[in-house]
């Protein structure tokens, strides 16, 4: 999931012909002053922190300026702020428009329908979750057909648009749908979509791009998101790695088994600190890398729970034994292992030769892991 900052989202919007306020992204107060002085941002203007978290307006991360000096001061005040855990490094300056009404428009996937769904509401400018269901129009869109004329008219009616604004909506909907499809988006959201004079303008942009489609969108690879540094390394090595707030590291294979393992761990008083899903692998090197990554997270104990399918138990055992040799003594941790399934006997024998016992039952092994981390069994 690649969440794009507003200004990046708007860059995409612009490529697809979405109507936008005039503006510029800046990275220093001086840059803000010169952008305003040069006329690339008309006054009065809005000064917005480029962070991914919502609620910027209420949180002081959006300000207004009527003069170049005010724009410079507001930019300086926002840059470097920490907003909901994110450092503000970029600020978007945009002309302040006379807004008649604020609407909501988005497209996302409806998993149950297995169709994209366009959502529209005349109640824009607030979080869509807080809007009454009856005030949201949901239009499923068949991917082979796209948004039809009659659906567009329904959306216009819901949004209370007439005359030239309907043609403006048509432009907005076409851009919205094309971005969703062609950029492999999970979500394209415009909130608010403002009625300004006879037309519409996208005041905000929220675009989330799907990770799995990155092979056809290399341009998003550089965009930072909300991963921790270790999570980022894991991603490069194609290991699912999630940091939680406990002290026990869990290595399992397969998302479902990993989640079930965490559930059982919590049940017996353990606090999962890192969740590492090896996935399907038959490369001992990948197992070794995963273990070394886990060691970097400095867990109090590690619980290894593997059910061999594509991944063979002996592969995991070999990778593990190699990793244990490489972890510096100061960073070693107690290890509890449970390996079952394909080549189970070979794997258990390899572990035993390295002094690690593989337990048989999930429950008893979880209890052992909790005890090893210093909690009660």
């Amino acid at each position: 999931m690649v969440k794009l900052a507003e200004w990046r989202g708007k860059e995409i919007f612009r490529q697809y012909g979405m109507p936008l306020p005039r503006g510029r992204v800046v990275r220093s107060a001086a840059e803000a002053a010169s952008a305003v002085a040069a006329g690339s941002v008309p006054l009065p203007c809005v000064v917005k922190a480029q962070v991914l978290a919502g609620g910027r307006g209420k949180g002081g991360a959006v300000r207004f300026a009527s003069t170049p000096a005010e724009a410079e001061a507001a930019t300086g005040a926002i840059l470097g702020l920490e907003f909901k855990g994110e450092r503000v490094r970029e600020v978007l300056l945009e002309e302040k428009l006379p807004i008649a009404r604020e609407l909501y428009l988005s497209v996302a996937l409806d998993r149950s329908l297995r169709l994209p769904i366009v959502m529209a509401s005349a109640r824009g400018g607030v979080e869509i979750e807080s809007v009454d269901d009856a005030q949201i129009l949901r239009v499923p869109v068949h991917p082979f057909v796209g948004l039809t004329g009659y659906e567009r008219r329904r959306i216009a009616t819901t949004l209370g648009l007439v005359g030239p604004a309907v043609r403006s909506l048509d432009t907005v909907l076409t851009a919205l749908w094309q971005i969703f499809e062609r950029e492999d988006a999970e979500l394209v959201e415009i909130n608010p979509l403002a009625v300004v004079g006879d037309g519409l303008t996208a005041l905000d942009a929220k675009v989330i791009i799907e990770d799995d489609a990155s092979f056809r969108h290399p341009q998003y690879a550089e965009v930072r998101d909300d991963r921790t540094p270790l999570e980022e390394i894991a991603r490069e090595k194609e290991i699912a790695f999630v940091q939680l707030d406990g002290n026990i590291g869990v290595i399992a294979n397969g998302a479902g088994l990993t989640m079930a393992t965490l559930d059982v761990l919590q049940q017996f008083g353990g606090r999962p600190g890192v969740f590492l899903d090896l996935g399907g692998t038959d490369d001992p090197k990948k197992v070794t890398e995963a273990f070394l990554l886990m060691a970097k997270a400095r867990p109090a104990a590690v619980f290894l729970n593997i059910f061999g399918g594509v991944t063979r138990c002996d592969t995991v055992a070999l990778g593990l034994v190699e990793a244990m040799k490489q972890v510096p003594p100061a960073e070693r941790f107690p290890l509890v292992a449970r390996i079952r399934g394909n080549n189970e006997d070979e794997g258990i024998a390899i572990l035993r030769s390295a002094g690690v016992t593989s337990l048989h039952e999930l429950k008893e092994s979880v209890q052992a892991a909790v005890a090893a981390a210093g909690g009660r069994p």
């Binding site: 990770d211 799995d212 998302a255 989640m259 059982v264 969740f275 059910f307 429950k363």
Partner: protein
């Protein structure tokens, strides 16, 4: 009888000359599946584990009457592979490949549906009916023929649970791993009626995960269209909101798709709910006994 696969399944493996394709062709043959063909463009004329390799699925179907495909093709090419299989007349396609963009899967699903074909997956372990046929990658060792149906969103967790059922002395009629992606070809809602209609299934074990509303949707089917007993488990009750837990589908947003809401829906629909995976075999045995007495 069994569900979706059986003695009449004639399997073509797409991507048979790749490592996973070869390994799992061998495992499927050992299971007793009729793997009649494989395909890899440009490698027609070779053979893998004694199975003839063709350049195209159409050729494979023409020459071997294959009706079921198992797809191991890498994600960027998986959509094309599926469309090729459907156009060649395959009626069931098991897509093992992971990391297929969901936009591709939307096309794959709706195209297959328009042509009367079914997809299982993607990012799934496939389907197996012990003693009959397997199309996919679930390890052979976990199975034993029996009368328990298993439908699961997970991979290895499914193996763990199916194995637990076996170790308890019970067996399985058919086991389907639906896959963990946001868009899947066969959901609980699609699969449950097949088990309801299967005379060889007495009880269904439903293994869910956090994220989405597939389990809530399944509960609706259980309530109105299902007469057999169901034992349900949902993984991820300890997952924090907003974090993606490995499966693309397993993400909780704003209190929706939580384990609690899923378990509540399933329980209200009459399912027996297991809190932890190791409780499932006992619960299955007990439920069978109780329902049998009525």
């Amino acid at each position: 009888m069994s569900v979706l696969v059986g003695p009449d399944s004639r399997i073509v493996v797409q991507g048979i000359t790749g490592h996973q394709g070869t390994v799992h062709t061998r495992q499927m043959l050992l299971f007793g599946s009729r793997v009649v063909a494989g395909t890899t463009p440009g490698k027609g004329g070779q053979s893998v584990e004694g199975v003839p390799v063709f350049d195209s699925v159409q050729e494979a179907v023409d020459r071997t009457q294959a009706n079921t495909s198992v797809i191991f093709v890498p994600a960027p090419f998986a959509k094309d592979a599926l469309l090729e299989a459907v156009d060649a007349g395959v009626t069931l396609a098991v897509v093992v490949t992971e990391h297929i963009p969901f936009h591709d899967m939307l096309t794959m699903y709706h195209y297959a549906r328009s042509r009367g074909a079914r997809i299982i997956g993607p990012n799934c372990p496939g389907i197996a009916a012990p003693g009959k046929s397997k199309a996919g990658i679930i390890p052979n060792v976990v199975f034993r023929p029996g009368r328990i149906g298993v439908i699961s969103r997970s991979g290895t967790l499914t193996y763990e649970i199916v194995n637990g059922i076996k170790e308890h002395g019970l067996g399985q009629s058919t086991c389907i791993g639906l896959g963990g992606d946001p868009v899947i070809g066969t959901t609980f809602v699609d699969a449950l009626p097949l088990f309801e209609a299967d005379p060889d299934t007495d009880l269904v074990v439903l293994v869910g995960e956090i994220g989405g509303t597939a389990e809530e949707d399944a509960a609706e089917v259980l309530r109105s269209h299902f007469t057999k007993p169901v034992v349900a488990y949902v993984a991820g009750r300890s997952a924090p909101p907003g974090k993606r837990m490995g499966h693309a589908g397993a993400i909780i947003a704003r209190g929706k798709g939580t384990a609690a809401s899923k378990l509540e829906a399933l329980r209200a629909a009459g399912a027996e709910v297991a809190d932890f995976p190791y409780e499932i075999p006992d619960l299955v045995a007990r439920t069978l006994k109780e329902r049998g007495r009525r």
